[in-house]
Symmetry: D4
Subunit: 226 residues, 8 copies
């Protein structure tokens, strides 16, 4: 349909109160096949999503594709940073949505909006996203917290999920739509999350703090020392 | 229309039982003109499709554009791996769908869904796909098992076929939608097919088997040898 | 609308009998600003379009943006290869469609379908294409026979014109939809046109002819000479 | 919806008389995180927009995200080149549209069409654009006068805003739609603006003037000197 | 020294009769860290070297770095294609030349010239190469049959080994210096080896054979069929 | 001279016992100017060097260029991971070697070999390296733990320092020449250091441990569960 | 030796009177394997060399590697543009210098300096160049009029031939060292040759002539017309 | 020779007191042919050199290649920023060193060291540099203030001039070797010059000044406002 599906006149942005996050198949073996972005970037973006879900108290559901085989284990940071996440074991189904336990877990959250990321994008993110749209969910697919085997495969998948009514989104946009404002007590923790997504932000903070420190401490510049 | 055409409320994923595969003009000469991806990647992806079609018993139709001229012969792997494929000779028509024998062969499969790949993407994949959509088929165009003369031409063609109602897809997604689950007897053969599409998977398997072998055989690490 | 505009159920491919070609602002100065593809590729693709228009006898309209200034003169190949092309001088209007003489020339062709290419893509191709769609024409925009100042600008323009109902297309696809079949007397001239669009095709022909010549002349291989 | 939203049959181009420009969060710190284009290109494109707004007398509204922190101050060129711009301070809201003062300022212009650019694209440009479309504005999002943390994030955002009904546009197209014709007294100032967007244009002008000067002054070529 | 070391006036090309080949640490785990070229290219180039060594009967020595750990097993093609290769187990030494058994094996060949490839280039190829030069060997380092973690690391290593007197070489050059002439009985096997190094060569052969077959069999072109 | 300077017949590899490490101007502001590699890669490589220096007990000297100004503070990881490092403040000199305190600190180590990294490569690494060679030191310049403003600048600097007799090296090679063997008690810490330099190594370890765990714990594969 | 070999104090630039040109194995099949530059660029550069040789009357020797097989025929432009070139058939030798007829032809020119280009760079250019240096010739290797299977192979070959004493050069430098001055009667033909090597030069000429024509003809700008 | 030529034991860095700068053929037409770096980067680097020459009072000599023709005029910034520069008109010679007036101007400076930049690198920079080395000058060639028609041509030229004894250098290194220390009265003007070479430096300064201003003015953060 190529319009954001199932919004029915609602603005196509994330309604935090109505949303759950699905993190699918982010496994050490599958990460070795990722070629549409640096794997370190992918890992950092997934970490940022897990952090943001915890900061907002949003439900998180995780699952893995045969983690006992070459696909490897889930990266440990997800459950470390989102300890409230619920893990659902599958029985070999490639599309997580084909696993009834997984769908039940999603339904149990009572939410109508889903943030979905999965590796590989073309399969583990796309199938559940299209399935969820088909069952009436509003779905935000986080393309750069997914990761697949070629840039072309990523581009094709982007076109496919948009055509299917999924809303495409990047990690920074997810964070910002969840955070909403810097006028909040946990602002520093959000700033930390952004340093995962765009690492220059960490340099900015380091330089900023030093510059202010020099100003307030009246530190002399080395080039002005006798 | 920019929505998946002819699905009429069905979910826009591949229904294996209703699908035939069209592999068009994958010829040694035309492969020399491919520049949107490494030609070896294209060849491997086409091989993976042929394997997957055979594993599912799906009908396959092949054809070539004047293989007696500079375009060259079909790559032999297609018929080697999908020996049940039906070859249709054309009479100079560039759009395979303009050849009545080809359309008849498609109709004879009795399927309503088509997986289409062709070199060059812009022409040999796009024209039959758009024609088939126009005649009521549900069409999945495998962009990275096609191949064309520039990345820009690939991107333009992606936009065009999506606009026409074709569902864009990559090779790995085709494989996964056909396979559905790892809980099947031929799982190993599917794993082999994936090593064509993302070669690091082969390394994963090699490392995995060795790691388990070391563990079960109690092999000592070289670095621990006296 | 994001669907091919004004087709009203017709298949969104080029109907040769109903089509005119507009080649806009392909000028030596503007070519220096092109950065989304090699300028030589752009020039070759424009040449191929002009050739193809002549082979089919299709009306061609050209125009230039202040060719007396830094934008420079039209590249001479267009009128050399499509001597039947009609040149329309503008009076400073950036959007060729804002010039009444240009619109009159288009209307005078009596065609309802337009193939449009123009440098720079973002402006000289996009504006007339969107304008023509708005006035009821079926428009095919040849992205890689246009050319603009960055890859990003090209991608943005592609998205914009598709959203507006224009059909995006590449040069090779235009050629093939016009040619339709190799079973025609001027097949060799079409082959020549393709060597502009994908230069390896020229190598294929050279190798092919030599291989056949060796076979029929029973030429001995150098490596087999005594 | 994937069609240009809120045009209701109007052609989806910029109606100068009905348009205001929003330049959001172009700050020295945030510029350090931009990776989808060279930062210098982004800065030059923003400069070109500010110049063009002034040449047309179009209302401009600016704002910044916590400019007292690591995000840094607005780049000074915006207000230098568009001294009539109105600056709206926010109170920590990430989406400028969440700030009532900002929305009031937009409404006060009385315009129904908005040109929006913002850093980072994924957040500071996308959220206000989607919000404005939702409230009935016609929105043109200037992708290459925005800037975000990865090319992938830019591509995802482009797809998202197009899906939401925003019209994507590049800086050169904005300039041309505002300028309309070279037959105007301030033509030279527009030419200057283009040299920001495609710097080779400056070389074209330099070469052009010298070539004419040589011709009219009958200057002898160095290679012809005795 | 930056000159080919230890040649003493001999031409710095490979003297087949005086040469042994060292293939070091081409392991499935280490291959996952390779980023200066596609891993598939590296694997194919190593295969080509093994084939060529067998065709010339040249001694081959292989070794691996703790293959019982995450580095993984040697890729099996090396010993499959060069069954005469001698494997030397190390005891944790990173520089194979630090392992006395390895050096003894090299000395036992009686050769004064070494062809060396190893993963990762920066370490497993560079250290033994520099060590061997230091002990008086003439060393050819096959950069594109090695593979390391970044293009920059490869470039730095190239500069380092050249500075140390190693002769840098690519896989195709090794093959050609070993083969010397197409006027030999095993010419076809060499052609096969080249298809590993530049895959388009396989297409050339396929097209060539078909073109000659069409000529000699008087096969009619499809486009000429009634 | 283009040969490794000052080795006088010694093999041009790192002699751990004779070596000190100089880490120069790795500052948060200067890191924003780095464009020859991702800044995160640079930061990780510097971290790896600091770790390796500590593991070997090698002397480390650090310095910064006017850290009270826009260049910003040293990244904190260097002194955190190499707490024994000696910091030398300069007085505005760009070439650290122009600062007598810095040279004195180097001399005080009593070492004849130096490992040098510095941001920006072209200046902060190159000048001290060339100066040190001129005074008789054997110098290893770690190109990918430095970082400069363009790839071209990095390439030019590589050529320049090689010409001056500096040995170019990458971070992984430094680690390996310092570590020498996996047969040591702190092997795990070296493995950790390598995960900084090539992050896939971390995935390899994760997958390896899981694979062995599955084998020894006889864990059933999800795809084999009933 | 890494110095220009055999110059013995002469400046390492081309002495036109003492130089012959060798164009080796520029064949249609081998061109399909070229991946270090666009094949069209390679072809244009070879054309420029042939033209320049003719303009200076310099001896040219050509040869091909088994042109009766998949390597294909020599591109016809070489002999078309340098009709005085002498073709030497080989008998299967890969290194042209291994063919006595070829060496005899070189010696017959009586020149001591050679300009060498050959496809593939790594083999057909490198071997004869190194051989010729070994026999006392001064050799200029034209890297971008050769062409090989990867950028890495090109870089490795550059390092190798420089190490062997060959002078590396690009096509434009060859042209300029042969031309020496614009103060010559055939200046226009040299300008034409440069348009092969850097195609924007053709645009410059077109714009230049038009600008002067407008000035001298007092042509009014379209934007100034009533 | 591949060592820095003519230094005779002097350290191969720039001795300001002994140095003149040659800026050759930086013309608007030739700039259109530059493809090894963005033309804007080249222009900025040339500007930085001119500024630095003026700050140090170093002699500057400029020249142009037939500026009355398509090569176009010198960019005006050179003489604007280095008004003391001496312009030497040539008489068609391509190698500026072939023009006696040019050599005389160089000799008249009385300097033994030359900083050379020229467009195109392969010709206008390389020839005079090699010529000057041959006549005993110490030459520093500024690769990224030159500019040529391809990255490959730049790389080949780098190798060639290094082989000839020229010292390769980048623009930032030239600036730093001329400036020597930040402890000087004109430090701010040098900082301005660096913002030409690495534009993020300008952002650093803007952010730094604002951060200090906020600290000293006790400005409240927007996110902390009520």
């Amino acid at each position: 349909m190529s319009a954001p599906a199932n919004f029915n006149g609602k603005i196509p942005t994330i309604d935090v109160a109505d949303t759950a996050m699905l993190l699918i198949d982010h496994q050490s073996g599958l990460f070795q096949t990722v070629a549409d972005m640096p794997m370190t970037t992918l890992r950092a973006n997934v970490i940022a999503l897990a952090k943001a879900a915890t900061l907002t108290g949003m439900p998180v559901i995780t699952t893995a594709s045969v983690p006992q085989g070459p696909n490897g284990p889930l990266i440990p940071e997800i459950h470390a940073l989102a300890p409230h996440a619920k893990y659902v074991a599958r029985k070999g189904q490639i599309n997580a949505w084909d696993n009834p336990d997984f769908v039940d877990a999603v339904k149990a959250t009572g939410k109508g909006t889903l943030i979905v990321a999965g590796t590989i994008t073309s399969v583990c993110m796309a199938f559940p996203s299209i399935s969820a749209v088909h069952e009436g969910y509003r779905v935000f697919a986080v393309i750069d917290a997914s990761g697949t085997y070629s840039k072309m495969a990523q581009e094709v998948t982007l076109a496919r999920v948009v055509q299917a009514g999924v809303v495409p989104i990047d990690t920074a946009a997810v964070l910002s739509e969840l955070q909403q404002t810097w006028h909040r007590d946990d602002a520093q923790q959000w700033a930390d999350a952004y340093t995962q997504v765009f690492p220059p932000y960490r340099l900015l903070i380091e330089s900023y703090l030093k510059a202010q420190d020099v100003a307030t401490q009246h530190e002399i510049l080395d080039s002005d020392r006798a």
